[in-house]
């Protein structure tokens, strides 16, 4: 099969890959780079479990073909820690009890990170609105919203 050469910067590391023309970014990350923190849940962009940051913007990696993002910087949940130090959102999600089954967690944290990167002091309603892009079936969202709020106040 014909493959396409793609260069990406994934979690601050340059990678060059030969991918299938129809390969999604989610498949590339999970299958080629073993970055399985992004999850496949609905495969049509409605749930946000596969969210990664593409040049800082949260995107559904199940809807993006890898060749489309040639040259982009990708941040996955695995790239969020600074050395051994957790990102404040990761810390807050743990402390506030915002994690249950964990399948939505990486998408939630990355969505929240992008929000706080573009708006350091969001109102609660901004947080609720932004986090409504992702589905969680376990928590009822209360502790997720609290974790993002808490982080924004630090």
């Amino acid at each position: 099969m014909k493959t396409i050469k793609v260069m990406l910067n994934v979690n601050n590391e340059k990678v060059t890959l030969q991918v299938k023309p129809y390969e999604t970014l989610l498949e590339t990350l999970r299958e080629r780079l073993s970055l399985t923190g992004a999850k496949e849940s609905c495969s049509l962009g409605s749930c946000g479990a596969c969210t990664v940051l593409v040049n800082g913007t949260p995107m559904r990696s199940c809807l993006i073909l890898t060749p489309e993002v040639e040259g982009a910087s990708i941040t996955t949940i695995e790239g969020l820690k600074n050395g051994e130090k957790l990102h404040p959102l990761q810390q807050a999600f743990m402390e506030k009890g915002a994690v249950q089954c964990g399948f939505c967690t990486s998408g939630m944290i990355l969505t929240a990170k992008a929000l706080l990167d573009r708006n350091k002091k969001p109102e609660k309603r901004d947080i609720v609105k932004t986090m409504s892009s992702n589905i969680c079936r376990c928590t009822g969202y209360k502790k997720i919203i609290e974790a993002v709020e808490e982080t924004s106040k630090k």
Partner: protein, 759 residues
């Protein structure tokens, strides 16, 4: 010891959360084994058809394909939870009974080759007449889905207590209403996946499951392998909610493909397959007749409840019973007749659900409010009057051990200013209350109990080994927290080895609310056994009596003279020197009536204990659009003693979404056996913006036998949140719901009916 708890009762960070926030937690689809193949399943396009022939030979010729199977490669065993419900071959050879049923499968070196091979499998069918409505299915003229079940009646549960007819005749008011509810989708975030790896006569399996031991037993039967050759291993699970309790067709498919190919096989379902071909929730039609005295006392209940059971038995007798039992465990029912029918239809396979039975439970509660109104009584008082208390027996003679029902009702009512708001409702604003009780563990014969082992390693760190399984609710952290309390060792020092059937001993699993009460009790017992051994050595070494010694912060010390102390790691080494390493074992078996049987003897002690809960919802109805909003929700739950209050709150809040907000959103839609909304665009799951302002209240009743007084945490809200919404609708409109969910179209229909009527 209980009054000086060090860590139990504290809001601790869950032990599993670090891996989950860093992306390191592995789920089944994340696994990659050397030589692993990818599987795809060919599914039935017919709701009901005879299988004339299945030919997989051409599929095997596709390059990269290593195995292709159908039911003819299986061992002719049918699965059923009970001896009398063994009707599910998982891969049928006689006929298909629902659209999407597993018919054949292939395993190939990549997904593309597997998909290509599927298209070359030839199946000859002879389509049969199908039936999709359970009421139609019960008629003599309906097609028979299974030969052995006449009129497609899979299960009939009949419960008769007291003299219902006499009591109804004497009641001051009697009311009979029928309520319907669509089955919901589990919509767990992780679609079902399985990895099976067969080598040298041994089969290893990874899949999201809510009971590794029951899963292994089912597969050992289906594959005719001894139990110790079928190893269900630990893996994270992306939600279950009742939908991962039973063996899945995919478990058998992946196992057969691995046995055939001699290589590991991974099968991952799509979201749509997960909705159509893994478990579904029962649609229910409940007719509720209630007789009440003038003072609001319930004198009699008569029920006819029909459960749309889909194509196979599944947990049939249990699913047909539970909505009734959680109601009789909550309220005093002196005379009751319950007829529950589970009926086969040509729809997907069904299972239990955390929110199972909403038509029945919300129907009972909303009807009670309408009767209270007619009698000029307050719903809070009616609930308090009829609510069971500790020491009482349920209608089917199960004793209530500890009971915080009254406190949950009073606290939820006070916090919400219920009585005032209920009286002052307007026609588009209402408030409602729902109550329920939950059994902490179903009776499951010898599988009702749990066992645990613990070993203290030579550096003083601990390995805890239990069959308990976590589907996201926090059972793993719960076990670690309990062990930490008993052993005086930080949670971080404890390595949990769990949910692996070759390493751990029997545990009932997490689907019958047994984890906190049964599993954690076994953990506590095992750790107490180890603690005794630690203290015996410390007593000798420190020269102080055993009863004077406590364990805290990795140290054994004298409570009277705290400077007499030594690290637990030294004690452990001392034990190794003696050739008696510190190992603790413990088990817990709940006090239940093992003679009890769901169909033949529905009487006797059902569970070791019960939890209780009350939900209060406030709603607003937009009369133009029919849309309901839920601005405020208060949930009060008696969980005995919360081991980790933060985790219990999380369960309660999640329940407000999955059961409460689902009341206005969620329902599976069907057209002739086709599921119309199998994905997450068409099936609406509540989002953050749909959630009310939630307040949770934890009521402690301190159960005498629960570990540190604990009972299950959160499920009561999952089984009464819909009642609160339904009752709030009744409060506002003066009407009962007819069918859930209360989507705008449903609401407009009801409001239209009500026009001109009194409100």
């Amino acid at each position: 010891m209980d009054e000086n708890l060090k860590i139990v009762g504290k809001r601790v960070i869950r032990s599993d959360s670090y891996a989950k926030v860093t992306g390191g937690a592995l789920y089944t689809a994340d696994l990659k084994l050397p030589g692993m193949l990818y599987a795809k399943v060919l599914r039935s396009p017919y709701p009901h058809a005879k299988i004339l022939n299945i030919d997989v030979s051409k599929a095997l010729k596709v390059p990269g394909v290593k195995a292709a199977i159908s039911g003819f490669d299986a061992y002719g065993v049918k699965w059923g939870v009970f001896r009398y419900t063994q009707d599910h071959a998982m891969l049928p050879t006689d006929k298909v009974r629902y659209i999407g049923e597993d018919v054949a499968a292939v395993a190939a070196v990549d997904e593309e080759s597997a998909i290509e091979a599927l298209s070359l499998i030839k199946v000859e069918y002879e389509p049969l007449e199908a039936v999709f409505d359970p009421v139609e299915a019960m008629k003599d003229t309906a097609p028979q889905i299974h030969e052995q079940y006449k009129n497609n009646i899979n299960i009939h549960i009949h419960i008769e207590v007291g003299d219902v007819d006499k009591a109804m005749a004497k009641a001051y008011i009697v009311r009979e209403d029928t309520f319907k509810a669509k089955g919901e989708a589990y919509a767990m975030m992780e679609p079902y996946a399985v990895v099976a790896s067969y080598a040298n006569g041994y089969l290893d399996l990874w899949m999201p499951n809510a009971g590794p031991h029951v899963r292994a037993k089912a597969l050992s039967n289906l594959l005719k392998l001894p139990l110790n050759r079928v190893r269900v291993r630990h893996i994270n699970s992306g939600g279950a909610f009742g939908g991962r309790s039973e063996v899945a067709p995919g478990d058998l498919v992946a196992s057969l493909l691995s046995i055939k190919s001699g290589r590991p096989v991974k099968l991952v379902l799509t979201r749509e397959e997960n909705a159509m071909c893994s478990r579904q929730v029962h649609d229910i039609i409940a007719t509720v007749k209630t007789g009440m005295k003038k003072d609001g006392t319930i004198v009699a209940k008569e029920y006819k409840t029909i459960y749309d059971g889909g194509a196979y038995s599944s947990t049939g007798p249990i699913a047909t019973s539970i909505p009734y039992y959680v109601y009789e465990e909550c309220y005093r029912l002196p005379n009751v007749r319950y007829d529950g029918y589970r009926v086969f239809t040509n729809k997907g396979i069904r299972g239990m659900y955390g929110c199972h039975g909403r038509a029945f439970l919300a129907g009972n509660e909303a009807q009670m409010d309408l009767m209270a109104k007619e009698l000029g009584l307050d719903p809070v008082e009616v609930r308090l009057k009829n609510g069971l208390t500790a020491g009482e027996l349920t209608a089917t003679k199960s004793k209530i051990i500890s009971c915080g029902l009254k406190d949950t009702i009073i606290q939820a009512a006070e916090k919400s200013d219920f009585k005032k708001k209920w009286k002052k409702h307007t026609r588009n604003k209402g408030i409602g209350m729902g109550c329920v009780a939950i059994m902490c563990g179903f009776p499951m014969g010898f599988r009702s109990g749990s066992s645990c082992y613990v070993k203290i390693n030579d550096d003083g760190q601990v390995t805890l080994i239990t069959g308990m399984v976590d589907n996201g609710q926090g059972n793993e952290s719960l076990a670690v927290q309990v062990a930490s309390e008993v052993l005086g060792i930080p949670m971080d020092d404890i390595n949990l080895v769990n949910a692996d059937t070759e390493v751990t001993n029997l545990d009932p699993g997490s689907y019958s609310q047994a984890a906190a009460y049964v599993g954690a009790n076994a953990v506590k017992a095992a750790c107490e056994d180890a603690r005794k051994k630690i203290i015996a050595i410390a007593s000798k070494k420190l020269g102080v009596p055993e009863e004077e010694i406590d364990l805290k912060d990795r140290v054994a010390y004298s409570v009277k003279t705290p400077d007499k102390r030594m690290p637990i790691s030294w004690i452990t080494r001392e034990a190794f020197f003696k050739g008696e390493p510190i190992v603790g074992t413990g088990s817990f078996f709940p006090d239940i009536d093992l003679e009890r049987e769901w169909v033949s003897k529905p009487e006797g002690q059902m569970a070791g204990t019960y939890s209780f809960g009350t939900s209060v919802a406030e709603i607003e109805i937009d009369e133009e659009t029919g849309k309901i909003k839920v601005p405020k929700f208060i949930a009060a739950h008696d969980c005995g003693r919360p081991i980790n209050p933060m985790a219990v709150e999380g369960q309660m809040e999640g329940s407000v979404g999955q059961a409460g907000i689902a009341t206005i959103f969620e329902g599976n839609m069907w057209y002739k056996g086709f599921l119309l909304n199998p994905d997450l665009l068409e099936y609406k799951v509540p989002l953050a913006c749909d959630m009310p302002d939630i307040e949770t209240i934890i009521v402690s009743s301190n159960d005498p036998k629960g570990p540190f007084g604990a009972k299950e945490g959160g499920l009561t809200i999952r089984m009464n949140a819909y009642s609160a919404i339904a009752c709030a609708f009744t409060n506002a409109t003066g009407m009962l719901f007819e069918e859930l969910p209360l989507t705008p179209d449903n609401v407009l229909k009801l409001l239209e009916k009500n026009k001109g009527g009194k409100r």
